[in-house]
Symmetry: C2
């Protein structure tokens, strides 16, 4: 990588539509390696490994697509709660690649586990044998192209050589950049909290950009913590917190064959054991995990393909959360709403259209709509005080908040998206060429 990371970090921090960039440091028990296996025509990091030298408890949620990638099939097949490494490649989704795609992963798992076992013999006091079924895979990129098994396999020695046992912000950003496809910015987030008297770190990276629409995990997201928490509880925590974070974002309404969000816990913080998800000691961890997931999810939406604006669609006071979610995504997925916002046009008529088509029972005379602080509709009526020039001025901001109140109940849902620009079309017309 020839990019100046300091400049990059500064520019990310300055340009971020969703707040400052955070510095990630070290998580005990985790090692990182990012290299180029020459999967792109232009040289860039495209294979990233997260290596847990003593293992890590693990839980994942996957895409709800009926056609899932071969790596998701692999992960579901090994069905391991304790993992030794996560290998991520970009450029090739390993989806619809058939038996050869799956076989490629088996070859890589065998090779990587063997070489990591060799490394354990050199580096560890009590070396452990690493098994192929302790390797997890994440893939992202083009669907349907033959999986580049040989290229990745021949890069494994370099990958092993580059393992960093201690991380700093540069290593994290390098890894976060190594998993990107058409994303413009690396996505990192962190929180610290206590479990009992032990300080716990929760770090995460993500990639997104296209094919972003909920339905369980959306895009790739990886969370790492030094907390000592069982895989079963990690799974419950992940499922619970994914709903209003990664499942609340949409860039284009398309759902990938490869989406996954995973959490890995090395246990090195040695907090006292947690017996169930209801354990009071988990309260802070739970809310911190939510914050990391939401932070990453927002970064994915803000960096959606071609995005010029970050949009929050808050739908309030519905009869059910399902209703609120339907209305919220009907707006967040509407090309007409999203192009109007790209054009900085406070075209609230299109919001009305999107509410109407959401297939939710509503009372038109109770609807209220706000654009940030500006009230437009109250009780189904356009306010005489509404000033379109003021609204047009608000539309110039980089962050647009749409607040819709149905006034029919007590349930809310907030989704996050971005505007639809010519750049989106450009990126996706040219993707493979």
């Amino acid at each position: 990588m020839t990019i100046n990371l300091n400049n990059l970090l500064n520019s990310i921090s300055k340009n971020s539509k969703i707040g400052d960039f955070q510095d990630l440091e070290h998580i005990d028990g985790l090692s990182i390696s990012s290299i180029s296996a020459n999967l792109y025509s232009k040289k860039r990091d495209d294979v990233v490994m997260f290596y847990f030298r003593n293992g890590a408890n693990h839980a994942s949620v996957y895409t709800q697509s009926k056609l899932v990638s071969e790596n998701i099939k692999w992960n579901l097949k090994i069905n391991k709660k304790r993992i030794k490494a996560l290998l991520i490649n970009t450029r090739n989704a390993n989806a619809f690649t058939g038996k050869n795609g799956f076989k490629g992963l088996k070859i890589l798992a065998e090779n990587l586990s063997q070489m990591l076992t060799e490394k354990q013999k050199i580096d560890e006091e009590k070396p452990e044998k690493i098994l192929p079924n302790e390797i997890l895979f994440a893939c992202t990129g083009t669907i349907g192209e033959a999986f580049p098994t040989e290229k990745i396999k021949s890069s494994i020695p370099e990958l092993i050589e580059n393992i960093k046992y201690n991380q700093n912000k540069y290593i994290w950003v390098k890894a976060a950049m190594g998993i990107l496809t058409t994303d413009l910015k690396p996505k990192l987030a962190m929180e610290e909290c206590y479990i009992g008297n032990k300080l716990i770190r929760i770090y995460g990276i993500a990639k997104g950009s296209g094919m972003i629409y909920p339905n369980m995990a959306t895009t790739l997201g990886f969370i790492f913590t030094d907390a000592n928490i069982s895989s079963t509880i990690l799974k419950q925590l992940l499922k619970q917190n994914i709903q209003k974070t990664f499942n609340a974002i949409s860039c284009d309404g398309d759902t990938s064959t490869n989406d996954m969000v995973s959490i890995f816990a090395t246990g090195e913080a040695s907090n006292s054991s947690i017996s169930s998800i209801k354990d009071k000691k988990l309260k802070l961890f739970n809310s911190s995990l939510f914050n990391v997931l939401l932070n990453l999810a927002k970064r994915v939406a803000a960096d959606g393909e071609g995005a010029s604006k970050f949009i929050t669609v808050k739908v309030k006071n519905c009869k059910t959360e399902q209703d609120a979610k339907k209305v919220s995504f009907s707006i967040a997925n509407s090309p007409l709403v999203k192009t109007a916002i790209a054009g900085e046009d406070p075209n609230w008529g299109r919001i009305i259209m999107a509410i109407g088509k959401a297939d939710v029972n509503l009372n038109p005379n109770k609807i209220s709509i706000k654009l940030g602080h500006i009230s437009i509709i109250e009780n189904g009526k356009l306010l005489p005080s509404y000033n379109e020039y003021e609204a047009a001025d608000y539309m110039k901001s980089e962050k647009i908040d749409l607040i819709i109140n149905l006034n029919l109940g007590k349930k809310d849902f907030t989704s996050y998206t971005m505007d639809l620009t010519k750049k989106y079309v450009e990126i996706n017309s040219d993707y493979r060429t």
Copy 2:
């Protein structure tokens, strides 16, 4: 109108992605008037009246949006089977305009019915009194702006003055252009058939362009026939034939508050009476009506905002028609599929993605995909004979056929859409400015 209609007709015929342009002539019992009420800043026809001097049987299907326009509320309220006139305006959707929007239509209906009654006294041997509740309304344009009642009302004398009792192709094209918004081309279609020994004409016009997604009627479509068929049977025929025509098109997945498709039958062909929809005499009429609706629906999709290509998505051999429809629209509504087609990229991986996210049970090993005549996937496997250069060449055509075979049953569904271009974003970012 300063446009040279002959040139226009020629250019429509030459540029049409879906076959030749047809010449519509006269339908007994129908009169047409198109004028400008100055609803646009630039002078163009924006108010069109279809006048049935002796009345017409009528049936309509409307948008499934939960927020419908005031004119649809009016039409549902008067609930008249026999209609004297249909008044269409563009520029203003009369949606979310509240009581004033509805009141505006009442004023127009009173005024227009009174002036038509006066005209009957002059022109007809047996003049009839025309009532306000015999006037049907269709509106299209911006949502949420105050309805321009006064402007339209003051144009009614000119509208009456311009009534043409005999139509030719120019009058039809003028009317079809008078109902357009961002459409580029007027949309007209016709069929002739027999009921018994009587020749029957079925003519239609439509508008579309944005907010095109099924859910009952989509966009505006108006069918006129001289057949003698009751309103009840017209309704059954319309509902039956709308499913695979207007409900099979999508431009952007957005559903308007104003969608309606109507059929009007003057009865002047004096065919022998039809007792039920099962009457064998209706067979030819039924298939001709289907053809007119499909022809118009395709023209709407082909002229979708920013369209450079017309796309047919044929999904075959599913367990249920609902499954076929879900898969078909998942592809037709996918921004990633549609941008790939805009970029002339045979990116079949995105078709796989869209099939996967459709939430339909499928067997990946049975899926076949064809791009026109080119087989890509058979039984879930990429064909060794597949040649991407040949496919890339096919993608240059203006008509793209995607054929997906799930090989799980006997049910099919075909949807029609267009590609997603930068032009779409441009049109919709600039719509109101």
